[in-house]
């Protein structure tokens, strides 16, 4: 067993231990220490994950696998954590005396997600999934607001139901194949896939993943939680959690394969997710709710790649997950800053009026982020959607692709509504928005990477394809 492969997680564990000790110190000191500690931690995690990128191996009696899929997704997760950590200095609705807990739960949830990407045993998978979920339940309740605990409880109960169904489904799979290891299930899958019980078990297990991805019909928690959680937390749920969900989708599907019935189910869910997400987003006024519905729609697009079940399908989902982290963080960055400047952690569309005059740079970032979400060239979102849709098209899902493209048009409407407020309306205050250095750097990097990933996607596409190839059972 080569523990050097486990270094990123070990570092994270150490950091969590340190944060636990920090709860004992004075709250004032701890709160300000957090502003440096979390971004630093994110940076170190990225570097250490980067160095394990080319390695592979199995740990802990073959329940934990290090390969390019896991390390690639861990890098994306660490990036997302880093960005949220940088943005955390703009938190306004986390209670002062709970700031250290905020740091702890953010880190534990990241740990859970990182382990999810490596888990190749159903028990490991379940434990790490619950670790990340429970941290997120607590995080979403962590806000000075009456409604936050309510949303937290909803999230918890919804998650509990999903994980109950997951266990039920997995018990069917384990019963049929006689092993909890994904590799073992993969070996027997060709023989079992024709059995209805196998497909049924898989479909139930999918419940938990759909819940993580906030796809229809397990999307109900998303708008309420997005709205009620503190904005940096929302941003973390909206980016890292989605990327981790894509990772386990890929893992499970690569192990079990997809039966024709399952493809139908996923197709219908993708169809409904896209339609519902985009249609309801049209009538939202609260920007975080709007982004919640947009993420439901985006989950539909991602399902399109996953249900293709080919190398291209998986690798383009990987690509899109990365692009999605970038563009969604770009959008949330602006939301967080606007929330801070208006001292209201639930910014309405009207709070964005005239942002272009108050901060042209932020306005540009929001514009590019939203256009990328809508899939306008030459941004990362366009390239991602393009390869995603081509992969689905290759498998003959032309109706879904057509519907997805039409949906992108609908989504443009609400994205551009926000852009209209940013660029064409008069601001209520002329006061310019000032950014901290860290945020400025993060914003600039997001801006550049959105364009670069859109124009020169080849290197990353090649990486994702190699990753998927390396992850075969």
């Amino acid at each position: 067993m080569d523990l050097s492969l486990f270094v990123p997680e070990l570092i994270l564990l150490g950091a969590i231990a340190y944060l636990l000790c920090l709860t004992l110190s004075s709250r004032q000191i701890a709160g300000s220490a957090l502003n440096i500690f979390l971004p630093g931690l994110g940076m170190i995690l990225m570097v250490s994950t980067f160095f394990t990128l080319g390695h592979s191996g199995v740990l802990f009696s073959d329940t934990y696998r290090i390969d390019m899929i896991s390390q690639g997704f861990k890098l994306v997760l660490a990036l997302s954590f880093l960005l949220v950590a940088v943005l955390s200095c703009h938190r306004i609705s986390i209670p002062r005396d709970r700031e250290v807990e905020y740091g702890i739960f953010l880190s534990t949830s990241l740990l859970g997600m990182m382990m999810m990407t490596s888990a190749v045993d159903i028990l490991t998978l379940y434990v790490s999934m619950e670790l990340s979920s429970y941290s997120l339940y607590l995080l979403s309740a962590l806000r000075r607001d009456q409604r936050a605990p309510e949303a937290g409880v909803k999230y918890l109960l919804f998650g509990a139901a999903a994980s109950g169904v997951f266990l039920w489904g997995m018990s069917l799979l384990v019963g049929l194949s006689g092993t909890t290891s994904l590799a073992g299930i993969a070996a027997q899958a060709p023989a079992l896939v024709a059995q209805p019980a196998f497909s049924l078990g898989l479909a139930f297990a999918l419940f938990a993943f759909l819940f993580k991805l906030s796809a229809f019909p397990l999307h109900f928690w998303a708008p309420d939680v997005y709205e009620s959680a503190a904005t940096p937390v929302t941003s973390f749920i909206a980016t890292a959690s989605k990327a981790a969900a894509v990772a386990i989708f890929i893992r499970i599907f690569m192990a079990t394969g997809l039966s024709a019935g399952l493809i139908w189910v996923l197709g219908i869910l993708a169809f409904l997710s896209m339609t519902l997400g985009n249609a309801v987003a049209l009538v939202q006024q609260d920007v975080k709710r709007l982004l919640a519905y947009s993420s439901i729609a985006q989950a539909g697009y991602l399902l399109l790649g996953l249900l293709s079940g080919t190398l291209e399908g998986y690798s383009s989902s990987f690509f899109y997950a990365f692009a999605y982290v970038l563009m969604n963080t770009a959008a949330f960055l602006v939301v967080i800053v606007v929330a801070e400047s208006s001292r209201h952690d639930n910014p309405q569309i009207s709070h964005f009026n005239g942002l272009a005059e108050r901060s042209p740079f932020l306005a540009l970032l929001l514009l590019l982020g939203l256009l990328s979400l809508a899939g306008i060239p030459p941004l990362a979102g366009f390239t991602g959607k393009w390869i995603l849709f081509s992969a689905a098209m290759d498998q003959g899902h032309w109706f879904l692709v057509l519907w997805a493209v039409l949906n992108s048009v609908v989504s443009l409407f609400y994205y551009l509504t926000l852009v209209k407020h940013v660029y064409l309306k008069k601001p209520e205050t002329a006061q310019p928005i000032l950014l901290s250095t860290g945020t400025k750097i993060a914003a600039f990097l997001l801006l550049v990477s959105l364009v670069l990933l859109g124009v020169f996607p080849n290197a990353f596409i090649t990486f994702t394809q190699q990753a998927i190839l390396s992850g075969a059972f």
Partner: protein, 614 residues
């Protein structure tokens, strides 16, 4: 420095100049001309360095290419087995664009130098020099690129800068209109170009110039398809190089500042079309039908605009029509199958025509009029520098040996005689005759008129004098010597005699009519003949476009407008969007905040779907 470094210098120096000029604060933007000149000089020196290093064609062609996008065969095209479409970006250097890049960068530099004199009093000088630098950037990009798509991108950028510079004095209505006309006509033509590129890419799978070989194309594609692609791409050439029937924008483009006309609308950008013909020559020569069409279009253009040049009064318009006609000659040469002779004439023409335009700029700047009779009246012939350079340029244009124009035009006549058939040879001879006629006419009117209301030269500082005279003299010298650089040249006695006879005849006719310019002008005013009328209305081409746009276009537009409002807008678009909105409102009621409802929906729908499909 390696070739690649030099490429980057040539490519990026003008862009850097443009960016620098853009970010300069208003207080010190007087240095904009200096920046423009310094960077264009750098680019010119770099390209001269490059052309000396490869003067004998050693080590060419050099290609630097990077894969940009590999498109797997998702793009479905029935029955065409192309496994992978590859788009690359990069530089290609061969003798052809070595010639072109040297020409572009040197003329760019001279024009920037002259602009310092010409635009000395203009308040928006920084904008002017910024655009000029940006043009150089786009033009070098066009010339250096190694594939059609990249060429097309820069092709559009030069179109944009051309638009911006024609309309540089946008407060003048005629300038704004001319800019719009140029832009719209070019877009129309480029549509064909773009369709051609798409078609070629879909059917052939690559757009790199190095891979576009006639045999390879013929192996993959049929004659009809090749002709179609060739003609579509030729559409773009017709727009940019102002070939019939897209030539109408170029004379109007003379509304821009005169140095711009010299650089963009005579020497470089309008020659880009001819350059593209030579660059992708195999693409056109793969089908003999395409070549025949190219030859015919060139012939129509050359003859038509040569006759038009013969009756203009505006010095820039004379030169503009002459440019169109010379471009027609180049296109004819290429249509007859000789890309070398076309390119040779392109390069000599670039030098002497930019010389002529700068000379006309010198006249216009001093006498504040474009009309040749008025220039003469205000003392044109007293301006010895300008008159001398005008003579140099016109002698070259009309093809008097040993000026550069003689050599290149001679080569074209020879090519047409041997490969073009007697008809096209005849057209070319007629065009040469007309060229000599209008050149001498222009010269005689300015040189032989009596001076009426003389305008004395302002006192100019030494810097201004230098920036006026240096480009003129340099270009005059170049238009004398470039003729000897054509390596494939050999003297053909028969053609030499033909040319000399043509020049003498044209000159004599011009002399007989214009030996007394004042009387000739009176005669012109009285002339109401049929042919004269046709020429004055430019063969009714503008009227035809007017009719097409105003009558046919508008009627169609009104009808489509009604259809659009009634059917597409209200019935289809609005109804769709309203129903999507309605759907959103209805479905958002699902989100009522009650957890039990959420779970009921989730589980209910989940079970329904699972049992229906598994």
């Amino acid at each position: 420095m390696t070739d690649l470094h030099l490429f980057w210098v040539i490519q990026l120096a003008p862009l850097l100049a443009f960016l620098l000029i853009q970010v300069l604060p208003k207080t010190i933007n007087k240095v904009a001309p200096a920046i423009g000149m310094a960077f264009s000089l750098t680019a010119a020196l770099a390209s001269l360095n490059l052309s000396f290093a490869h003067s004998q064609g050693a080590g060419l062609p050099v290609e630097f290419s990077r894969q940009w996008l590999v498109v797997a065969d998702y793009a479905v095209w029935p029955n065409i087995p192309v496994p992978h479409y590859t788009l690359s970006v990069g530089f290609l250097l061969d003798p052809l664009n070595l010639l072109m890049i040297t020409l572009v960068t040197t003329i760019s530099f001279f024009v920037q130098l002259f602009s310092f004199y010409y635009m000395n009093e203009d308040p928006s000088r920084p904008r002017y020099f910024g655009f000029l630098s940006f043009f150089s950037f786009s033009m070098t990009g066009l010339v250096l690129s190694n594939n059609l798509l990249q060429t097309f991108l820069f092709w559009e950028l030069v179109g944009l800068t051309s638009y911006l510079l024609i309309g540089f004095w946008f407060e003048k209505k005629s300038a704004a209109t001319a800019a719009r006309k140029a832009f719209v006509i070019n877009r129309l033509a480029d549509l064909g170009f773009y369709l051609g590129i798409i078609l070629l890419f879909l059917l052939f799978g690559t757009l790199g110039f190095a891979t576009l070989k006639a045999d390879a194309l013929r192996n993959v594609l049929g004659h009809g398809t090749l002709t179609l692609i060739g003609l579509l791409i030729f559409c773009g050439v017709m727009g940019k190089s102002a070939q019939f029937p897209f030539h109408v924008w170029l004379p109007d483009a003379m509304e821009g500042p005169t140095p711009v006309s010299a650089l963009i609308h005579s020497a470089t950008m309008v020659a880009a079309g001819v350059f593209l013909l030579a660059r992708a020559f195999d693409l056109f020569s793969a089908s003999h039908t395409t070549l025949l069409v190219i030859l015919s279009i060139g012939a129509i253009t050359a003859l038509m605009s040569a006759t038009l040049a013969a009756i203009q009064r505006d010095i820039k318009r004379i030169l503009a029509y002459s440019t169109v006609s010379q471009l027609g000659l180049m296109v004819m040469a290429i249509g007859a199958g000789s890309a070398e002779s076309g390119m040779f004439h392109l390069s000599t023409h670039a030098y002497f025509k930019s010389l002529l335009f700068l000379t006309s700029g010198a006249f216009i700047h001093r006498f504040h009029t474009n009309d040749i009779w008025e220039i003469a009246d205000r003392g044109g012939k007293k301006d010895a520098v300008a008159l001398g350079c005008l003579a140099f340029g016109l002698l070259s244009l009309s093809g008097v040996p040993p000026f550069a124009g003689f050599f290149s035009k001679d080569l074209i006549l020879e090519v047409l005689k041997h490969h073009g058939g007697i008809f096209f040879y005849g057209v070319a001879v007629l065009v040469s005759f007309l060229t000599a006629y209008y050149s001498f006419r222009l010269f005689f009117v300015i040189a032989l008129s009596k001076i009426g209301h003389e305008v004395r030269a302002h006192h100019e500082s030494l810097t201004l004098k230098i920036s006026r005279a240096l480009p003129l003299f340099s270009l005059a010298a170049l238009s004398l010597i470039t003729g000897f650089t054509g390596h494939a040249f050999h003297l053909n006695m028969e053609l030499l005699i033909t040319t000399v006879i043509l020049v003498v005849a044209g000159g004599a006719l011009a002399y007989s009519q214009f030996k007394d310019p004042a009387a000739a002008e009176a005669a012109l005013r009285g002339n109401q003949g049929f042919i004269f009328k046709i020429l004055e209305r430019k063969f009714f081409m503008d009227d035809a476009y007017d009719f097409l746009v105003k009558k046919v276009g508008l009627a169609l537009g009104r009808w489509l407008n009604a259809f659009d409002r009634a059917v597409i807008n209200s019935l289809m678009v609005n109804q769709t969007s309203f129903s999507v909105m309605r759907l959103g409102r209805v479905v958002s009621r699902l989100q009522n905040g009650l957890l039990q409802d959420y779970l009921a929906w989730a589980v209910g729908i989940g079970i329904l779907i699972v049992f229906c499909f598994l």
